[in-house]
């Protein structure tokens, strides 16, 4: 199974939309897409929003990728905001007890507020 990755430039930074399975086989693709965003980003990037509504499956390698991205965002002074976690993504966040570590939003409008 593949993951489909769409990147969109927005005023405060970037939106990354993931669709499909983020697992040991595909998390490298997600990591590469994130790396590309950081290369393209201007110094003033305020936020990276990741839409997870269409993610059918995520494993610990997906979580690891998001932790790395969060750490990179912090170095750049940008916010990482996770949006619309699908039920399988919520499951893995609950099990990893990481829900309080990330900024998580129910809708894209909510995530964009205040940026």
């Amino acid at each position: 199974m593949n993951v489909e990755i769409k990147t969109e430039k927005i005023a405060p930074g970037f939106v990354l939309r993931l669709k499909g399975d983020v697992d040991m086989n595909t998390s490298t693709d997600v990591r590469n897409a994130m790396t590309e965003i950081f290369k393209q980003s201007a110094p003033g990037m305020k936020a990276l929003l990741v839409d997870l509504s269409q993610v059918r499956y995520m494993d610990s390698s997906g979580i690891a990728t998001l932790v790395e991205v969060m750490q990179n965002c912090m170095k750049k002074g940008a916010r990482l905001r996770l949006v619309e976690l699908s039920p399988p993504v919520r499951d893995v966040f609950e099990l990893a007890r990481l829900a309080s570590v990330f900024e998580i939003f129910l809708t894209m409008d909510d995530a964009l507020a205040g940026l």
Binding site: D23, V67, P87, L95
Partner: protein, 134 residues
């Protein structure tokens, strides 16, 4: 009535979805909730990832065997490999307050399943047995 589904897949990450796709309907059919089924699938998937990473040390040309047994009131998943045996005394989940990538798979297995047993008594490889009661 006890029923068993068996499956063997190459030890390549691209086949993990085959295991997930086979496991989910069997677990749901055994009467587990969808949420429990998703968590069971996740934990088994993590176990398979660990087999690829640690038992086979990234060799994608090997084989992972899976047996799913639906028994009265519980499900038993057995994973077997022919790779490097783990030092069972050193397998432990990492502390969750360490916010860092990696090391969550063992935690997921222990959190989701009632029992996690490694059998390294065969000449080669390991049988990992995961049991979950309803």
């Amino acid at each position: 009535m006890n029923e068993t589904v068996t499956l063997a897949v190459p030890s390549h990450p691209k086949y993990l979805y085959v295991i997930r796709s086979a496991l989910y309907p069997v677990v749901c059919g055994a009467g587990f909730t969808k949420k429990d089924a998703r968590r069971i699938v996740l934990a088994v998937d993590e176990a398979c990832s660990n087999i690829i990473k640690y038992s086979y040390e990234g060799d994608y040309s090997q084989k992972i065997g899976l047996s799913i047994s639906v028994e009265t009131g519980k499900i038993v998943v057995a994973l077997n490999d022919t790779g490097k045996k783990p030092d069972v005394s050193k397998i432990s989940p990492r502390k969750l307050d360490e916010i860092r990538p990696g090391g969550l798979g063992t935690h997921f297995m222990n959190e989701v399943f009632d029992s996690v047993t490694y059998d390294t008594s065969r000449d080669t490889g390991t049988v990992l047995t995961l049991v979950k009661s309803k």
